[in-house]
């Protein structure tokens, strides 16, 4: 499975499992004990259809009761929207923390066992996922990104249409609530 961006083509052996079905995606999240949802700046710099990308993500976070790590300048928009973030590391910093199994996590309850992210710049995200693949065997990674990420443990297929992307979010939220 080639990711959307050529620069992210995998040169490796361990590649993501593609999860086409939001039901399955939701069930992976639900099985985790201490998940973390990382939000990158694309979520505040883009819309999906008419709605801010971030709103979809916050719906997911809420539905799954996922603690958030707002990277880059995402915190600003969140605070404008009156949503508090659990933490605000930049992407490289949070990954650096996640590498350490002894780290206590953003809620000081222990390191996370599942990392999901959305809206991180795709080439940077892929590097971060590579770091975690090699150096954080204690956790699993999920790329909730329409451009697909081979270095994650679980990734989406490339989703070309906005409507499909919205549908995935909707399906996910629905299944996380149930």
């Amino acid at each position: 499975m080639k990711p959307y961006w050529d620069v992210n083509v995998l040169t490796g052996t361990k590649t993501a499992k593609i999860v086409e079905d939001p039901v399955q995606w939701a069930s992976i999240i639900k099985k985790s004990i201490r998940p973390l949802y990382i939000l990158g700046p694309d979520t505040v710099d883009r819309n999906i259809g008419d709605k801010l990308f971030l709103e979809y993500c916050l719906d997911v976070a809420k539905a799954g009761n996922l603690p958030i790590c707002a990277t880059a300048h995402v915190r600003k928009k969140m605070s404008e929207m009156g949503v508090e973030t659990d933490s605000a590391y930049d992407i490289i910093e949070i990954i650096n923390h996640l590498k350490d199994p002894e780290w206590q996590g953003v809620r000081k309850e222990g390191n996370h066992d599942l990392i999901m992210f959305t809206g991180v710049r795709c080439d940077l995200a892929e590097r971060g996922l590579a770091t975690l693949k090699h150096f954080a065997p204690h956790l699993k990674t999920m790329a909730l990104c329409r451009f697909s990420h081979p270095n994650a443990d679980f990734a989406l297929p490339v989703i070309r249409k906005d409507t499909k992307w919205q549908e995935y979010f909707d399906g996910l939220v629905a299944n996380l609530i149930n």
Partner: protein, 763 residues
């Protein structure tokens, strides 16, 4: 294993007693290893593998995923570190070889005893060479000694990347740091050589404003375009034109660092733009003659020059393009070969190349047509687009170029114009297009034709400037020196560079730029139509905005930090690397920003700055460098010695600077972080107040309300709290249970690890 004391002293002219020789003259790879290891203890290497495999030898490919070792026993971290070292060596070699050629060339011209004189304002002519080697260069021949030392270091470094050599990533990092150190050294030698040999201005701050932008090039004249980093041939063109009263008749312009350097020679030369405008400018066909020298030159210039109808003269052993070497032929004959036989040639004699370029340009220009494509024609070409987005998928800057082309075909200009501003004109999109749409050509129609100004490079910071700002820098009352360096692989275009620089200049930081960044900064105008170069004063002072020059002039930025220690604080600098670096790390609030770093050189430079104790912020693309140096502020070793008492501090000391090399995803976050990375443990309460004031204000501006969640770590006592936020902050501190603590007196790492450096020196 191989150090001979007598020989060392001979090389550095030990008898020359300008300062006593410090503990580490001509350091070998292992001589500063303990300093590296001490840095790496706090700033640990962070690896982001770009590939899971190693393909270095015929046992491969070896899969190193997640703990597996290769057939040679190497693991993924060590392999990444090895790769980084190799890349640093490439960067170091590029500068070193460039320096070697320039210096040999100038020695051939002026003799090896030609004096180095940087003018009235610069007495400490070579702070890096002095501190690293223990040598005070006085003549061109001394600069060759520097390069010889660099060459000697290089072979050992490259050797250790061979399969079956170094086995620990920390030792590879020590070697990378060493390579970085040698890189800055070579750059200093190279820039001093060209300043001396070409009489570039060095003792004035307000160097001329030169014209910038492809729009500035007068198409009606013969146009000579130089691309690369070694101005020797294009400087020879300038000489030829001047000597023959042709300066008015011919446009000389440059891309990349050669552009900087030729404008230091003649302010009538023009700057087309940075690296990322290469293919665009060649393809638009304005240049009649292209001179390539070395570094960051597209490898397909011969093909593109042919396509654009331009003549090509290659001038470097680094870039020969398989062309016939005509160096030994007569100039007339060469001109004929180019103009009549339409040959592209290699001329290894810069003087000859310079003259040939001028003569060819004058001969062929009248017969050439030069027009940008118009919007209508471009739209017609774009109409073929089927919206498949294969082009977009290929884009290294993740641009939706396909969408822009499609919309442009439908008459929508702005989107494509925006895309062009973020585009590197790398050409990858175009070659994937199943409809063969000439995307780059189409972009000509939407590219601005505006012209801009850039201040030409000024070289080293003056000693007197250092004396003036030394104290406020070290006390912290000048909140920091922010240096924008490196290449144009920007995530979001030139604009962000100008914005960042403006933000810090307004706040009275000292803002320095070089290389592509200096050009990018000039490509944006404010509401009054002024670029940042016109808006701020050119001195090394609070609120000053400086262009030091080309890539090799980056050395002067490190040089300025060294001079703060050596000139202002009077630390003995000669062969005293660790003390000076320790001083910089703990007391000079400087931060490098390489927002668009793409090259191996930029990696080496950044790593070199890191070894001097200067943190570097990188843009998102730079995660592909594979290695960063990060701390974790609450977990890592911030233990430090109070230099006055020579005792370790027995309480937590602020994590400053927090990281040595970090990638930050967005400009907004980067700005906030840069302000933080200018904090030093030596700041006085007033200085700390000023720095925290900016940190908090920028945080509020870019990150939203509230306070940075690490603010308390940087507040030692209530006197550190900025007035403006006083009450709010004090409330917050109370809420989170903050407790006051001591300020470190003369913070230092010396003696916290095994070292031959003398702690007395840092006092």
């Amino acid at each position: 294993m191989s150090k001979n004391k007598e020989e060392t002293l001979k090389i550095i002219k030990g008898e020359d007693a300008w300062e006593p020789v410090g503990p580490t003259p001509l350091p070998d790879i292992t001589d500063l290893r303990n300093w590296s290891m001490r840095l790496l203890k706090t700033y640990k290497p962070f690896y982001a593998p770009f590939c899971d495999l190693c393909c270095n030898c015929t046992y491969g490919k070896c899969d190193l995923t997640a703990g597996k070792k290769g057939a040679c026993g190497i693991d993924i971290a060590t392999h990444q570190a090895r790769w980084v070292l190799m890349q640093c060596c490439m960067g170091l070699s590029a500068h070193g070889a460039h320096g070697r050629h320039l210096i040999d060339y100038l020695i051939n011209k002026h003799g090896k005893d030609y004096k180095i004189d940087l003018g009235l304002q610069v007495d400490v002519e070579a702070p890096i060479i002095r501190t690293v080697m223990g040598l005070k260069p006085e003549i061109l021949g001394d600069l060759r000694t520097v390069i010889e030392y660099v060459e000697r270091g290089l072979i050992h470094l490259v050797s250790s990347t061979h399969t079956g050599q170094e086995g620990h990533y920390l030792d590879f990092e020590n070697k990378s740091l060493h390579a970085g150190m040698l890189d800055l050294l070579a750059m200093e030698a190279a820039d001093i050589a060209q300043i001396a040999g070409y009489n570039y201005p060095t003792s004035i701050a307000d160097t001329p404003l030169v014209e910038l932008g492809w729009g500035a090039i007068d198409k009606t004249k013969p146009v000579i375009l130089a691309i690369g980093h070694n101005a020797a041939p294009i400087n020879a063109t300038i000489d030829y034109l001047q000597n023959n009263n042709l300066e008015d008749k011919v446009e000389v312009c440059g891309i990349c660092c050669t552009a900087h350097d030729v404008t230091r020679r003649s302010d009538r030369a023009k700057v087309v733009g940075h690296l990322a405008r290469q293919l665009f400018f060649i393809r638009c066909g304005i240049a009649d003659v292209i001179i390539t020298d070395e570094q960051c030159v597209r490898t397909d210039v011969p093909e593109e020059a042919t396509r654009a109808g331009a003549s090509l003269i290659a001038t470097s052993d680094k870039i020969c393009y398989g062309l016939e070497d005509v160096t030994e032929k007569e100039i007339d004959e060469i001109v004929k070969m180019i103009t009549e036989e339409k040959k592209q040639v290699l001329i290894l004699d810069p003087d000859k190349a310079g003259e040939v370029a001028a003569r060819v340009a004058i001969a062929i220009a009248p017969g050439r047509k030069k027009e940008f494509i118009n919007e209508k024609t471009a739209m017609k070409l774009a109409k073929e687009c089927n919206g498949c987005n294969l082009c977009s998928e290929a884009c290294p800057n993740l641009l939706s170029v396909g969408k822009s082309v499609k919309e442009f075909a439908d008459g929508e200009v702005d989107k494509l114009s925006e895309t062009f501003k973020l585009c590197f004109t790398c050409g990858k999109c175009e070659q994937k297009c199943p409809k063969n749409i000439p995307i780059i050509k189409i972009m000509q129609a939407v590219a601005t034709k505006e012209t801009y100004k850039m201040r030409s490079g000024r070289g080293p910071i003056h000693d007197v400037e250092i004396r003036q700002v030394g104290s406020p820098i070290v006390l912290g009352t000048i909140p920091g020196i922010v240096a924008f360096v490196g290449c144009s692989n920007y995530p979001k275009g030139d604009k962000e560079i100008a914005e960042m620089m403006d933000e810090f200049a307004r706040r009275k930081y000292i803002v320095v730029a070089s290389g592509c960044a200096a050009m990018a900064a000039g490509m944006v105008k404010d509401k009054e139509g002024k670029t940042i170069w016109e808006k701020y004063p050119p001195g090394f002072e609070a609120g000053g905005v400086l262009n030091v020059g080309s890539c090799v002039a980056n050395s002067h930025i490190a040089g300025a930090a060294i001079k703060v220690a050596n000139i202002f604080a009077k630390l003995p600098g000669r062969a005293n690397y660790e003390c000076i670096a320790d001083y910089i790390l703990n007391r000079v609030g400087a931060c490098g920003v390489a927002w668009g770093a793409y090259s191996q050189k930029a990696l080496a430079i950044g790593t070199g700055f890191n070894r001097w104790g200067v943190p570097v912020v990188l843009g998102p693309h730079s995660a592909k460098y594979k290695r960063l140096y990060l701390s974790r502020k609450e977990e890592d070793d911030w233990n430090i010695m109070d230099g006055r008492t020579e005792k370790m501090m027995d309480e937590y000391v602020e994590p400053a600077p927090e990281h040595l090399a970090i990638v930050i995803e967005s400009k907004e976050r980067a700005i906030v972080s840069i302000a933080k990375y200018c904090i030093r443990r030596n700041d006085t309460p007033v200085g700390r107040q000023i720095k925290l004031n900016h940190y908090i204000a920028l945080y509020k501006k870019y990150m939203g309300e509230g306070f940075p969640d690490d603010l308390h770590l940087f507040i030692r006592k209530p006197t550190d709290v900025p007035m403006f936020f006083k009450r709010e902050v004090m409330d917050y501190l109370k809420k989170i249970g903050w407790k006051p603590r001591q300020q470190v007196g003369l913070p230092t790492l010396i003696n916290t690890y095994p070292t031959k450096a003398n702690i007395a020196d840092i006092k």
